[in-house]
């Protein structure tokens, strides 16, 4: 029998039972739609997280103080004074893969502008800090190396600070606010960055020269962190190794001793986040696959009932010359058509659903081409696999018995 006739026979048989065909497909439709939606949402969330991490600069490297052991007692990192400006100078001098470097000193406290106040924290950096952290100006200017050297009482503020300290809408540039009693003149306003992947407001920020924070606010002589940017994303890991090497020498750490600092690249953070979302995606897809399996069993169930119900038809087809193979292929084709059409509808629904969800969550909308292709292949496989047994049963019928079947 040729393929076209086969399709015609199977198609006619399905059309005769439209409602049943539709209900049978429902299982597959839901299964495939669920898989496509889950995988697409997983990818969307990964992309959205990556975007946010990248917005902080993918080649950024952070050097932090580490817990130190002192005679068996771990001292919390806040009390450790392991990083200094000379470390920054050493890295600037010796490192090859580093582009920008900034010491970071942070302090938290109350911001006051007249009768308005806002609890926030202040970040101290040098003039390269803005570029490392990918901050952009909305208006005004960044501070300069001159300001850093002079411990100038200037600052650059984020949108959240503007909203809270200047609710009247007046221009903050040139105004002086106080941070823990230290007056700071606003010279720039940062462009909004929104929330980061942890839900933190990245606009709730005040940036001042680190020397100002260090000497005028905190009165300390060490620094909290070093922020750096590697020359490119590709050399970020090499840069991190290089920094570790330089700091170990700088801190006179002997072979086998633990570092008293930590080096973190954005790449590592990205990988950590990706592995979490990746795991969730796989988990959800696995759950969704179960519904696909159930859908497949639904098809087998209906095909099985169909074969029994259509025993007489099968007998007739055999008596007018259908070979066993024709009957087998007819039922296989029917189940495959069912699952493929169900699959196509499911794919369309899944894409629609993930579009809707990403639209409301404000995530980037992506369709996983792989998920679509794999689902489609799985559909065909389900049709053949779950159709095989009923079809085999149909083909094995004895035409005489089948014709007499009531």
């Amino acid at each position: 029998m040729n393929f076209y006739n086969l399709l015609k026979i199977a198609y006619n048989a399905l059309i005769r039972n439209k409602t049943r065909a539709l209900l049978t497909m429902l299982g597959i439709i839901i299964g495939i739609a669920a898989v496509i939606t889950m995988v697409s949402l997983g990818q969307s969330s990964t992309i959205s997280i990556n975007d946010q991490i990248s917005s902080m600069g993918t080649n950024m490297i952070m050097v932090m103080r580490n817990n130190q052991r002192s005679g068996g007692v771990s001292i919390g990192s806040a009390n450790v004074r392991s990083l200094t400006e000379s470390d920054v100078d050493a890295i600037r001098e010796k490192a090859q893969y580093i582009d920008l470097i900034s010491p970071v000193v942070t302090a938290s406290g109350q911001l006051i502008n007249g009768s308005n106040n806002w609890p926030s924290s202040i970040q101290g950096g040098n003039e390269e800090f803005f570029e490392i952290r990918k901050y952009e100006l909305e208006s005004g200017t960044f501070f300069t190396s001159e300001d850093v050297r002079a411990s100038a009482k200037v600052c650059v503020i984020g949108q959240t600070i503007v909203e809270n300290l200047f609710p009247g809408g007046e221009n903050p540039i040139g105004k002086t606010i106080r941070f823990n009693k230290i007056p700071l003149k606003i010279i720039g306003i940062l462009a909004s960055k929104g929330q980061n992947q942890m839900g933190q407001d990245q606009d709730d920020v005040v940036i001042a020269p680190y020397t100002t924070v260090q000497k005028r606010i905190l009165a300390i002589n060490y620094i909290h962190m070093i922020n750096l940017s590697a020359q490119s994303e590709d050399v970020a890991e090499d840069a991190a190794d290089e920094i570790t090497e330089i700091l170990r020498i700088q801190h006179k750490i002997k072979q086998g001793e633990d570092d008293d600092f930590r080096v973190r690249t954005q790449q590592e953070m990205l990988e950590t986040m990706s592995s979490i979302t990746g795991f969730l995606t796989i988990l959800l897809a696995a759950i969704a696959s179960i519904s696909m399996l159930v859908g497949g069993i639904g098809i087998m169930n209906i095909m099985y009932v169909t074969v029994t119900e259509r025993t007489k038809e099968i007998g007739l087809r055999m008596s007018i010359g259908a070979q066993n193979r024709d009957i087998l292929l007819q039922f296989l084709t029917e189940s495959t058509i069912l699952s493929l059409i169900g699959g196509i509808i499911g794919i369309i629904m899944g894409i629609g659903l993930s579009y809707g969800i990403t639209y409301f969550l404000n995530w980037p909308f992506v369709v996983s081409v792989n998920a679509v292709l794999i689902s489609f292949a799985v559909c065909a496989a389900i049709g053949i696999f779950f159709g095989w047994y009923p079809a085999k049963k149909a083909a094995a019928l004895d035409p005489i018995t089948a014709l007499r079947y009531e």
Partner: protein, 256 residues
């Protein structure tokens, strides 16, 4: 004389039921020649259904020879006998066996769907031609449930004719019909016979057998009578029926 369409020599068929053997056919021989209209008669259990299954290549004899159109059926594989059924035999059943929710034309086309040598255009033309032969050219797109019993059987006959078989095998083809409709169907068979079709008609009703030209009577798996009969005209019988019998469908005994 030409070679027979059907040639049967010493045919036996034994069914094993548990440890017992049932001899359904105990050595049957006869020939059917082109253009014959044979009725195969017998009561329930006489072996006529077994014989029909063998004639229709649905079953194999236990021993003996069977040739259809000079082809030895005994040596054929399952698939080859499917092809014989598809090309050489037309079946008409007691219960019509039309596909539901499938119109008359598509029902008639069905055997040709299993024949690769027929294009879809030719398939349609031949199906229309077959429906014309049974007088249903106006009912081609009717579903079986929109047709009367007699019309459904006509569709089934058209389906049996569409592959231009060497023999039409009818199994109690009038069994589900009232007398008038039975006579109409027999009249149709007589017309097809007059056009040169070879027909084997299995029935248990002597009344119906009288419309054929030869009767083979079976009893207990043996032929007890094989003779030419004086063919009655179904058309005449039809005109002799009292008019009111139209409305009284006769309860027919079914027996296979």
């Amino acid at each position: 004389m030409a070679d027979p369409i059907l040639k049967i020599e010493n045919l036996t068929r034994v069914f094993k039921v548990g440890s017992e053997s049932v001899h359904a056919l105990k050595g049957i021989s006869f020939d059917v020649f082109k253009g014959e209209f044979v009725s195969i008669m017998g009561t329930s259990g006489s072996g006529k259904s077994t014989l029909l299954n063998i004639l229709g290549c649905l079953d194999r004899p236990t021993s003996g020879e069977y040739y259809i159109d000079n082809i030895a059926i005994k040596d054929l594989s399952k698939n080859e006998s499917s092809i014989i059924r598809n090309r050489k035999i037309g079946f008409v059943f007691q219960s019509y066996n039309l596909l539901s929710r499938t119109n008359a034309l598509e029902n008639v086309e069905l055997p040709l769907l299993y024949n690769n040598t027929v294009s879809s255009k030719e398939r349609k033309e031949r199906a229309i031609e077959a429906l014309k032969q049974v007088g249903l050219e106006n009912r081609m797109d009717h579903m079986p449930n929109q047709l009367s019993g007699g019309q459904q059987q006509r569709v089934a006959i058209a389906r049996a004719l569409v592959n231009d078989p060497v023999i039409v095998l009818a199994d109690e083809a009038t069994g589900n019909l009232d007398t008038r409709t039975s006579y109409e169907i027999m009249s149709l068979f007589q017309k097809l016979h007059s056009e040169g079709k070879t027909i084997a008609f299995v029935t248990h009703e002597p009344d119906i057998a009288n419309f054929t030209s030869r009767t083979i009577m079976l009893r207990d798996g043996r032929i007890i009578k094989d003779e030419a009969v004086q063919t009655k005209s179904a058309q005449e019988a039809l005109s002799n029926l009292p008019v009111e019998s139209d409305d009284i469908p006769e309860e027919k005994r079914t027996d296979n």
